[in-house]
């Protein structure tokens, strides 16, 4: 009788441990999918360590997953790709002449167009952080950054109206540029 009770206790203990391991594996498999990137393990045991595993699994499964758009253009070896962007720049208030205002606004617009080309070709890094205290959003921060090298971009058209300069730029990408 004593042995039977002991056996039952052992079975129940092993059953409990098996449930916990399943929850952990669920979390590990879901995390890389939400990032939509190959899992690097950068955030492992840092951000989610203090949180409940079951809670993470639920939140992650509810988040919308970004799917690649079928109509998104892909650079192929056979044909080049033309990218067109429009950059905007503003003239400063304290300029000595309209010509100077135009020149400065155009410089800013060209830089904006370069940034847009870099964003389209290389992509943007986005970091977000929300601080919530007593169930209220105290601070919401979104940081984006781009780093790229752009060459052979051409200015197609420049317009200047009411202090705003718009520069239309285009760049032709070929497969050989990335080899």
């Amino acid at each position: 009788m004593k042995y039977n009770v002991l056996l039952v206790a052992l079975f129940s203990a092993s059953a409990l441990f098996s449930v916990e391991t399943i929850q952990e594996t669920q979390v590990e498999t879901i995390q890389p999918i939400t990032a939509d990137q190959p899992y690097t393990g950068e955030y492992e045991n840092t951000q989610y360590a203090a949180l409940d595993h079951q809670h993470i699994a639920q939140t992650v499964s509810e988040a919308p997953r970004a799917q690649p758009q079928p109509s998104e253009p892909v650079l192929s070896q056979r044909e080049d790709m033309l990218i067109t962007v429009t950059g905007q720049g503003v003239a400063p208030m304290n300029t000595s002449s309209p010509a100077q205002a135009y020149a400065l606004a155009k410089r800013a617009a060209v830089a904006d167009a370069y940034r847009m080309i870099a964003e389209k070709v290389k992509g943007v890094r986005i970091d977000g952080q929300d601080l919530i205290k007593n169930m209220m959003v105290k601070r919401s921060t979104v940081r984006t950054s781009v780093r790229a090298m752009v060459r052979n971009a051409n200015v197609v058209e420049t317009t200047f109206k009411e202090g705003l300069c718009e520069v239309e730029m285009e760049i032709t990408l070929s497969h050989a540029d990335f080899q």
Binding site: Q88, G89, V90, P92, L104, A105, R107, A108, V110, A111, D112, Y114, R115, I117, A118, E119, R139, S140, T141, V142, R143, T144, S145, V146, R147, A148, M149, V150, R151, N152, A153, V155
Partner: protein
């Protein structure tokens, strides 16, 4: 060449002068140029173009030359100032590094974009009517 009094000072001086006169033009037509401008919140914040003569001979072969008008001057800074717009467009074509950071804190946005041409060696040929500028790679 040995002088009558037997010392070598004349020939030494001559060889030194010759050496200097031949070595100077080798690096005289090479310049180091860098360009950078910063845009903050869609406004031009800072722009700098630095030009200096190379003190050492640069390596590489010239490519993608630019021809600027010149009135018999050998001052590159002056020539570039006279044709600044053409030269800046040319630098854009050569390629600039783009660095952009943007922060939105509680729906208030701030952005900084920096375009940079890292210091590069350019070969410059001065002629009577034009100056030929080409980067070395």
């Amino acid at each position: 060449m040995r002088s009558r009094d037997g010392n070598h000072s004349f020939s030494r001086r001559l060889s030194v002068v010759l050496l200097f006169s031949l070595a100077l033009p080798l690096s005289a037509s090479e310049y180091l140029i860098s360009y950078r401008y910063v845009i903050k919140d869609a406004l031009l914040y800072n722009e700098s173009l630095t030009i200096s003569q190379a003190m050492q001979k640069c390596k590489g072969s010239p490519y993608r030359e630019l021809i600027l008008e010149n009135d018999a001057s050998k001052d590159l800074k002056k020539i570039i100032n006279q044709n600044s717009e053409t030269f800046i467009n040319y630098l854009h074509k050569l390629g600039l590094s783009v660095e952009h950071t943007e922060a939105t804190v509680n729906a208030q946005n701030k952005s900084t974009t920096t375009l940079t041409l890292k210091t590069q060696c350019f070969k410059v040929d001065f002629n009577d009517n034009f100056a030929r500028i080409s980067p070395l790679k």
